[in-house]
Symmetry: C2
Subunit: 576 residues, 2 copies
Amino acid sequence: MRKFFPFLDWLPKYQKKFLGSDLVAGFTVGVILIPQGMAYAMIAGLPPVYGLYASLFPILIYALMGTSRQVAIGPVAMDSLLVAAGLGALAITSMEEYIIMAVFLAFMVGAIQLTLGLLRMGFLVNFMSKPVISGFTSAAALTIIFSQLKHLLGANIPNSNQFHQMIVNAFQNISTTNLYDLAIGIMGILIIVLLKRWNKKFPSVLLVVLLGGFAVYFLGLEGYGVNVVGVVPEGLPSFTMPAFGMGRASEIFSIALALALVGYLETISIGKALEEKSDKETIDANQELVALGTSNMVGSFFQSYPVTSSFSRSAINAESGAKSTVAQVFSVLLVVITLLFLTPLFYFLPNAALASIIMVSVFGLIDIPYPQNLWKHRKDEFWVLVITFLVTLFIGIKEGILVGVLVSLLVMVYRTSKPHFAVLGNIRGTDYYRNIYRFEKEVIVRDDILIVRFDAQLYFGNTNFFKTQLFKQIEAKGPGLKLIILNAEAINYIDSTAAKMLVQVIDEIHKREIEFYIAGAIGPTRDIIFTSGIIDVLHKECLFVRITEAVKYFDDPANISLLGKNVAYQNRVIGN
Amino acid sequence: MRKFFPFLDWLPKYQKKFLGSDLVAGFTVGVILIPQGMAYAMIAGLPPVYGLYASLFPILIYALMGTSRQVAIGPVAMDSLLVAAGLGALAITSMEEYIIMAVFLAFMVGAIQLTLGLLRMGFLVNFMSKPVISGFTSAAALTIIFSQLKHLLGANIPNSNQFHQMIVNAFQNISTTNLYDLAIGIMGILIIVLLKRWNKKFPSVLLVVLLGGFAVYFLGLEGYGVNVVGVVPEGLPSFTMPAFGMGRASEIFSIALALALVGYLETISIGKALEEKSDKETIDANQELVALGTSNMVGSFFQSYPVTSSFSRSAINAESGAKSTVAQVFSVLLVVITLLFLTPLFYFLPNAALASIIMVSVFGLIDIPYPQNLWKHRKDEFWVLVITFLVTLFIGIKEGILVGVLVSLLVMVYRTSKPHFAVLGNIRGTDYYRNIYRFEKEVIVRDDILIVRFDAQLYFGNTNFFKTQLFKQIEAKGPGLKLIILNAEAINYIDSTAAKMLVQVIDEIHKREIEFYIAGAIGPTRDIIFTSGIIDVLHKECLFVRITEAVKYFDDPANISLLGKNVAYQNRVIGN
């Protein structure tokens, strides 16, 4: 029980003095949450009020179940874009149906997250490497910025999920720009950017909303064609069952999975980032999945669309001094007040103002220094980033993540398929054996002994490479060769394909009347040597802890310590 | 030139005494090739004569370009099944169109193989691990056996690519069995099986063909409804352009790719297996791709369908003493004679006899001992085999290969995502540091030093795991901890995600006023430590060659050898 509801743990210990901090943080976040929520709902293609609906129950549930004290969840830009991309690909004809699907999507996302959490599959997000996240985020940010162009310009630009199509659409329709909309938008951007430089905590977003609304109202800008939010329905969302259906579920499953993983990734990485700055570690990766999943599921019964942790609001929450998730309850309170009493005020809020809020908040997600750094030191990972970026931008968001993850795994696999293969020599005056090409001057190489080190697990992907390299070195040594020592320190696994190859190779080496020793095999590798038949061709006496001992034994078989033997032969299978 | 046509090298050195061996081997193989070729064409869904067409030019080209001396190429069972599975999925209405597509498929397969060969992508087949090959082959063999049931029974059983559908079809139509067909089939199976036990080189396949034909002719079995091969067109195939077309190419691309890879895999593995038994290594992996690709492409201009190396015929070729690919030229000669003069003889050849030949030859491909062995020692690889087997059997051949390769890569990735993490202690009386759980009695553990070893490359997939495990051990040590030594011998790579994590982790450890040393980093890892910012938080003095030196330095910073320093700090970036 306490595992699934961490508040049972911390609420009894809650101190009165925390309440002030939480109140300030909660209200500060709430003031930003309300305009942001409405703006993000617009990204998702939903009426703005759905951004407020998504700021009620999901946040309350997370306050009870989340393990981070400072993460602020609710509607966010990236996930809203994913919702738009996912639902845009379906044949949906009316806004009612679109809303129903968005809410059902929240249910699906929640169900997937909850399932993954209960199955303790939180580790899955580990497979999104930093280059993939960076490339994906930058591309999504660009897409979001361009998706808001139509609101900023007040122009009739058709939606599209693909960047090049967006650009084409924008150029074709740029003549329909409304200069009043554009002026409001640019003003909004300038206000937020400049005020942020002055004071990060100042609710500049709220100011833009207020100024925009007043301008439209008092200057009668609606008459000049400025697009406004219009009627926002009053009151709280009522309990309604999401529109379950197998056909629907299968239609949106892939986008729900992408949202579930991306959303979780955001929450866990924001949570961990904030935690690192604080003194206490509380985050449990799997419980976060459970909390987020339940938030989305419960939210979907109250017309919420998919939510996750917001980077900007979480940062503001932490900076404003939030001590616990109680802060979030205060944010929700502000949303409730807004929905009950303040909705008429939003009528005159210009869409261009909301677009300016989105553009600025998302612009910061475009990451330039990181790819620059990769370009300098890690060309392979740089290309993973670029591929992820381009696929996300020009093909699609889901595809971007998928291709990114696959390509980064392929890079890893490719790397292990042609690992570093070093020929070692004795460093003069020591018992170290090191790469002869790195220590050319200091190294002594014997003609009768070939010492090699293979720097990867031995598995099906590199068995041929290992064999080829080894025999190339054997040929190079010539007929004087009497002993091969394989330094196995860096061979952390041997799969069955590789074990078979190793048996064959050792057999062939023995046929050439050359001895074969293995030095430095770690425990798990020793176990495999003893179970997979390698020991049958190798014999126990040919296992050593270190190369230097192998060489000594070769020169004088009497020269071997009992202790060394015990360490070299130890395994979990046959015993010492 | 010599690279692409190895015969230019060996033909001038060809010795007269080889001719006898090659003649015997070539005719022995040819006698089996003719009935096998016709039978395999039946598997592919083609008229039997196309098996003979596929035994002409492809074999001649391979004789000129191949690097193995004993591989016998031509039509084979597995690839014929792939052809049937691939073309069966297309909307082809007439046999003429089917033949055109099969020939075009050969062209595509050849083009892909040639391209891969010229790009030196032969290493791709390394990714088909032994469990995948075994599972795939066993499933394909079962599929082939059941696909021949209709010929063996003489029953009207509709074709299907899926095993369960085949079984259903067979049961529904078993009543249409023709007992004469069945009798011929069972006789054929018994003859081949029993004669093989007696003498492996005896051309039992030819005997079955002859006996079957005579039985039908002299006993007038055609009148009893026995299905026969019927009219086989006389003469050699003429030069015809394959039916090129982009639409067609894209339709069959995936099956062509599967055929290209599977075919190549068969050739290279058969070639290597035969080579291991002989004294000389001649096989060049990429030239084999070029040779096979050219064979298929040239063949397609003379009505050949996709070919590759046959396991049974290659074995017979080697056992019969083939010295060079000249043997194969004699096989082709026999096929030419057959096509020119002997086709009328095949009229009475019963299909059931051909089916019996296929069933026996393919039955041997079902591999039982290997999965048994995996079950004992490698549960993970056993499941890879079973998944590949089941997907191949019940979903499809292409899908089986694809899923098999992906699953085996996933297993590899999963393994590296949760690698072995060992806490080390000093083994009494030595300077070895080993896993405290493997050497519980012999080990000394100091309260102020935590020594850990991580047995995998550090990459995005396991950074979180590393961090979690490390801090778990730090917590377990308690406040007396003053030094952490990371044994990096088995860390063969650090990617950018992991490097970032390592910097953070070292920072955090320093904040707790604990020192952090790295011991035993190999060359490539040292380079990364120096380029990726790790050195900025770590300082050069914290790098050591061995744990024992790190411990000595910690106890007395004056106690460090210059030689040790030079080795520990060596890198390709900043210099010593």
